[in-house]
Point group: C2
Chain length 303, copies 2
């Protein structure tokens, strides 16, 4: 059970919690349909260093766009993305980046966008880990997702990343179907041409799924308070507090990237998505801190 | 199989379709995760005459609100709702009604609203059928939902009604969990007080889930094109066209309320939610018309 997790407090706490809510004569028993687990994606299920996967996708898209329209080259934030100037990109803020990323492609419909993303994932390689991005996912988390599902949980992703971007691979890499992915999204529009309906992408942001908005979107998409939540940054604190203010049993976990050897050690200084406030209030709210270094005996399957 | 359906073309078409997409060596085989079925609710799964169930809920809520603030009595649309003046209410239009209904309660949070709705359903009786509203659901459709699920379909509701209102009963009456209900919604907001997080309801409409917006919301919540769609009005035409413009196998059904004896006979003259355009383009798009009178041998379980 959970072989890539060491036998430390974190693993014990997970198993104790799951057994408690799944035991029929326990006072904390929770019926299967209410076993909702939500996971952040960037930095919780897959690596987000030196920048988000969707950022790398955008780098590559932009090169193709600039080839079609060279004047773009000198305008911002195209220039920053073209030069992979991570500092300048991070200075846009997470929302600014998400807004730009949502526009920085040439797909007019959701289906065309899905094709672009699918093709990209089939070929792109992570610059640091030298693996396909779909391999840069945390093995212990795959085991945890499986373990929760084996115990009746329905597993959801609640990500600040683009909902369509993540949906493209969530089913094949995490066994999480598109309808269980919640994320940032662009406005869209019904489009009927030549007797074919498409969902057209408009450039404008509809929802930036971060912080408070994660709670709003969990309510919109899922309609119940989660029982279990896993995140890695301040962007996840609100959904942890939402989960933890349930009247029934509940559990929140926070991944601390403290493993410079097997991955990257970072927290409050990662401007794009800092871990700071959540760490400081963790004890007070009863949030379990997972140490990548101490709690996981394996990070990636390829290592 | 489908005992409340007569052995007419409609039933044959459903079974033929389901067997075709579920047979592994069929060229039209569809893998289980892609078997998405969407159903409208008002007039498709439960009765909507003389007006929508949510309208009756609003009548009752308003009486309680007016008792607290008698000045309301003379303002519109409170007056129309108080007097159950169906013509005046329908004159507001479906969107206007949904906007008003979203505000006409005194629940500040989604959980408080859910409690109000749950209590109301436990006690309220349909004025025409003299049954709890949760009994005014179409028996043949319950059998169809079960049949589809038994064949690997995931069943969703896509309703113009309020998402929280329908979620409150969808699981117990249709076996459709909250996360598989898509509908109209109010804006909401994260709220943290006394170490407890709630999702606060704001009075303003976020999404009016009708016509084109049903397609937009199917994409947002489900993220794939449905394989099967069932509706009963022009409000469902767009999601039928979306389903039917799939490159793969697909099926759309339209319920025609032509049974004055067991229910109510109506179509284009029902101002709130007319069936007119969808009926006239049905043949051209290959939409199957289901006759309540001829295709169903039972309408409600209580009859
Ligand atoms: Ca994250
Ligand atoms: Ca309807």
């Amino acid at each position: 059970m959970l072989p890539s997790w060491n036998d430390t407090e974190s693993k014990k706490a997970i198993i104790e919690f799951v057994e408690r809510i799944a035991t029929e004569d326990s006072t904390d028993f929770v019926p299967v349909p209410e076993r909702i687990a939500v996971f952040d994606n960037d930095g919780t299920l897959w690596a987000e260093q030196p920048t988000m996967v969707e950022g790398f996708f955008t780098f590559d898209r932009i090169h193709e766009m600039v080839a079609n329209d060279p004047a773009m080259k000198e305008t911002q934030p195209f220039k920053a993305f073209l030069e992979k100037d991570v500092a300048a990109i991070h200075a846009l803020g997470k929302r600014g980046i998400v807004e730009f990323v949502m526009k920085a492609h040439e797909a007019e419909t959701q289906e065309a966008f899905k094709e672009l993303v699918t093709d990209w994932f089939a070929n792109a390689i992570h610059p640091h880990f030298k693996q396909p991005y779909t391999q840069c996912i945390y093995q212990p988390q795959l085991e945890l997702l499986d373990y929760l599902r084996a115990n009746g949980f329905k597993t959801f992703i609640v990500t600040g990343g683009g909902i369509e971007f993540v949906r493209t691979v969530a089913e094949s890499i995490y066994s999480i179907p598109p309808e269980q992915v919640v994320g940032s999204s662009t406005k869209t529009q019904f489009d009927l041409k030549d007797k074919k309906v498409q969902v057209a992408r408009l450039g404008e942001l509809r929802s930036f799924d971060d912080r408070e908005e994660k709670v709003v979107n969990i309510n919109l998409h899922i309609g119940r308070r989660p029982l279990f939540v896993f995140g890695n940054s301040d962007g996840d604190l609100r959904m942890m507090q939402y989960t933890l203010s349930s009247d029934g049993p509940c559990m929140a976990m926070l991944l601390h990237h403290d493993d410079a050897q097997r991955e990257v050690a970072y927290d409050k200084d990662f401007k794009l998505s800092p871990l700071n406030e959540a760490l400081s209030v963790a004890k007070d709210w009863g949030i379990h801190i997972v140490s990548m270094k101490n709690d996981w005996n394996k990070v990636f399957a390829f290592q």
